[in-house]
């Protein structure tokens, strides 16, 4: 469907150099739209298993590694909300403040969700936001809004 929509949109693209042998700016999008549609149909119609989409199978040796389960769904959603909040507040609050708030919240949600975890996350978030800000602005020279620095 995406391919058909793409090809259909491509029909509306004007071709300013069509008379010089140039197929115009619509040819490639049109061809891609058709290819997408055809491949999509092939994918839908064909039977049998598809390629493995998952990650490579891990073969950890017992004793050396710990298998950590993924965080609960509500934590994932909360972290996702934190990311969105971080991006939304990035320009408004500046780098250091928004990064600190995000890091502290995400570290707390993903780690020990008790009073001690909150304190550790706050300290780690503060340290990380200052360290990253210092590294990016001082060493790499990256211009960022609202970077607090000591000194």
């Amino acid at each position: 469907m995406l391919g058909v929509a793409f090809a259909w949109q491509a029909t509306g693209i004007a071709a300013p150099f069509g008379d010089l042998g140039d197929p115009g700016p619509g040819l490639v999008p049109m061809a891609l739209g058709i290819a997408m549609a055809v491949l999509g149909v092939v994918l839908v119609l064909r039977a049998g298993p598809s390629g493995d989409g998952g990650p490579a199978e891990r073969d950890p040796a017992a004793g050396d590694v710990a298998i950590l389960p993924p965080p609960p769904v509500w934590v994932r959603l909360a972290v996702a909300a934190c990311v969105l909040g971080f991006v939304y507040g990035f320009e408004r609050l500046g780098f250091t403040l928004s990064s600190f708030l995000f890091l502290a919240a995400a570290m707390f949600l993903l780690g020990d969700r008790g009073p001690r975890g909150l304190a550790v996350s706050a300290v780690a978030g503060l340290a990380a936001s200052f360290a990253i800000g210092w590294m990016l602005t001082t060493i790499m020279g990256v211009p960022l809004p609202g970077v607090f620095r000591f000194g």
Partner: protein, 492 residues
């Protein structure tokens, strides 16, 4: 070129630049070492940060991160039997058993030395062959470039992925996304739907960071993670000169395999270490020791995977054609600094070429020093808790993408592509062909249209020119090979 190489090296050893290079190599090592992260992700994340640097230093940083990422994979392969990157799969076969015998330091040191020598040999090949290939490529016209882009894309799709349809669909999707914004000739607006932020098209940074870094972060959040236990201890004595000398032929052979496979689009380090390992085993008088902690196996795998980097850079700098996801991101690094990799770069900016060589050379030594000096300490990165690592990575992604163009829109776009990348991989669609499609799209379209204009619309002109006909033949043969493979797989 030698004068330029020395000049570039002198720039890189300036204390501030050397600090940046060391940091870049360390970042690459870190990403390579941690299972779940990768060299590709490292290069994607560092890419936007190079905006603040001059073009030559920015590219040097990317080369350094790339090499570091490939080298770092052996740490987890040795200590956990989990290859940090696909380039170290064969390393697990012997380095892990050796580490289990209490010789972890020997296994790691052997790997570090093999990586350094493999890297140096591939640099030698790169320096020797790049000018010749560039001289050949300078004769390429629009027909040849369009055909080359198509052939490279087909090679990557067919050689790298089992599912041809999904690989092709991913490539086509990448090509389609590259058509958003101004058309390459005539500047006609396409698919921007009146969005001012899309007028110039989809930025390479949000696209790359989203697809490779954000999607990986989402996977880390939704899948069980593997981390080393807190009590990880690295024991044993180091490598010996006699062992190195005894593996001289093995290293040269494995490096040659690494370079040769690295040159081919779509295969790269992931296959080179396995092929070199197999060749070393075949040639060895002590075949039965393979898989039980053989040093020959470690030398073969690690020299091959680092040598593949030099191989992968060869078509990148001489033809401007990337062979896999990570070199596609490197192309992005050139693009954001206003450079177009390819044969003309040797004439227009030989200092950049010299800087690539110098950065490669310096990074090999930086990595060796970094790795050997922290051999008992660095592996502790494998114990970093996820709750600290993932949020910091998320901050780096947001900041990097924002800093690339100072546009929050790009950050939202990056998050969107992250979700797309995550869903694509979840349902078996490979990301590398999509990125290659995105990078090669403008090259393909521009040259296709130019070629047709030169030939007054005659499509047959593509098969009337020997090089473009040959390249199209390669693409057609590869496609048929892929179809045959698919048919054979289904029949089986």
């Amino acid at each position: 070129m030698f004068d330029l190489f020395i000049a570039a090296l002198l720039i890189l050893v300036d204390p501030r630049i050397l600090g940046i290079m060391t940091l870049s190599a360390a970042i690459g090592l870190f990403f390579g070492a941690l299972p779940g992260l990768s060299a590709t992700m490292a290069v994607a994340m560092v890419l936007p940060l190079t905006f603040a640097l001059s073009a030559d230093i920015g590219i040097a940083v990317l080369v350094s991160v790339y090499l570091g990422g490939i080298s770092g994979g052996l740490v987890a392969a040795t200590l956990l039997r989990i290859p940090g990157t696909p380039s170290s799969i064969a390393t697990t076969f012997d380095a892990y058993p050796l580490a289990q015998k209490g010789e972890a330091v020997k296994a790691l040191a052997t790997g570090f030395i093999a990586s350094a020598v493999g890297g140096l040999l591939s640099l030698l090949v790169l320096v020797s062959f790049a000018p010749t290939l560039a001289r050949l490529a300078i004769r390429f016209g629009a027909h040849e470039y369009a055909a080359l882009a198509l052939a490279a894309l087909t090679l990557v799709v067919v050689l790298s992925y089992a599912d041809l349809t999904k690989g092709l669909l991913a490539a086509v999707l990448g090509l389609a996304i590259s058509t958003i914004g101004f058309a390459p000739i005539g500047a006609t607006q396409r698919f921007s739907f009146g969005q001012i932020d899309l007028l110039a098209g989809v930025g390479i940074v949000p696209f790359m960071v989203g697809l490779f870094a954000v999607s990986q972060l989402l996977r880390e959040m939704t899948q069980p993670a593997v981390r080393a236990r807190a009590g990880l201890i690295v024991r044993g004595a180091g490598a010996k000169l006699g062992e190195f000398v005894a593996n001289g032929v093995n290293i040269v052979r494995s490096s040659a395999i690494g370079v040769a496979i690295g040159v081919l689009p779509g295969i790269g380090g992931a296959a080179s270490n396995l092929v070199a390992y197999g060749a070393a085993r075949q040639a060895s008088r002590r075949r039965d020791e393979f898989g039980k902690g053989s040093l020959e196996g470690i030398y073969a795998s690690e020299s091959a995977n680092n040598a593949s980097v030099g191989g992968a850079l060869l078509p990148l700098i001489t033809l401007g054609i990337p062979g896999d996801g990570v070199t596609a991101i490197l192309i992005g690094g050139f693009t954001i600094h206003g450079l177009q990799p390819g044969p003309m770069l040797f004439r227009s900016a030989p200092d950049i070429i010299a800087m690539i060589y110098a950065a490669f050379f310096l990074t090999i030594f930086l990595l060796l020093v970094l790795q050997l000096s922290t051999i008992r300490v660095f592996p502790r990165v494998l114990t970093i808790p996820r709750q600290y690592l993932l949020p910091v990575l998320a901050v780096m992604m947001v900041v990097g993408t924002y800093a690339a163009d100072n546009r929050l829109f790009d950050v939202w776009l990056m998050l969107g592509f992250g979700v797309v990348g995550f869903l694509m991989e979840r349902y078996g669609f490979p990301l590398a062909p999509m990125v290659l499609g995105f990078v090669l799209g403008p090259i393909f379209e521009t040259n296709l249209r130019r070629a047709l204009m030169y030939a007054d619309g005659n499509v047959l002109s593509f098969v009337e020119r020997p090089i473009s006909a040959g390249l199209l033949g390669v693409a057609a043969v590869m496609l048929l090979f892929g179809l045959w493979n698919t048919w054979r797989g289904r029949a089986a």
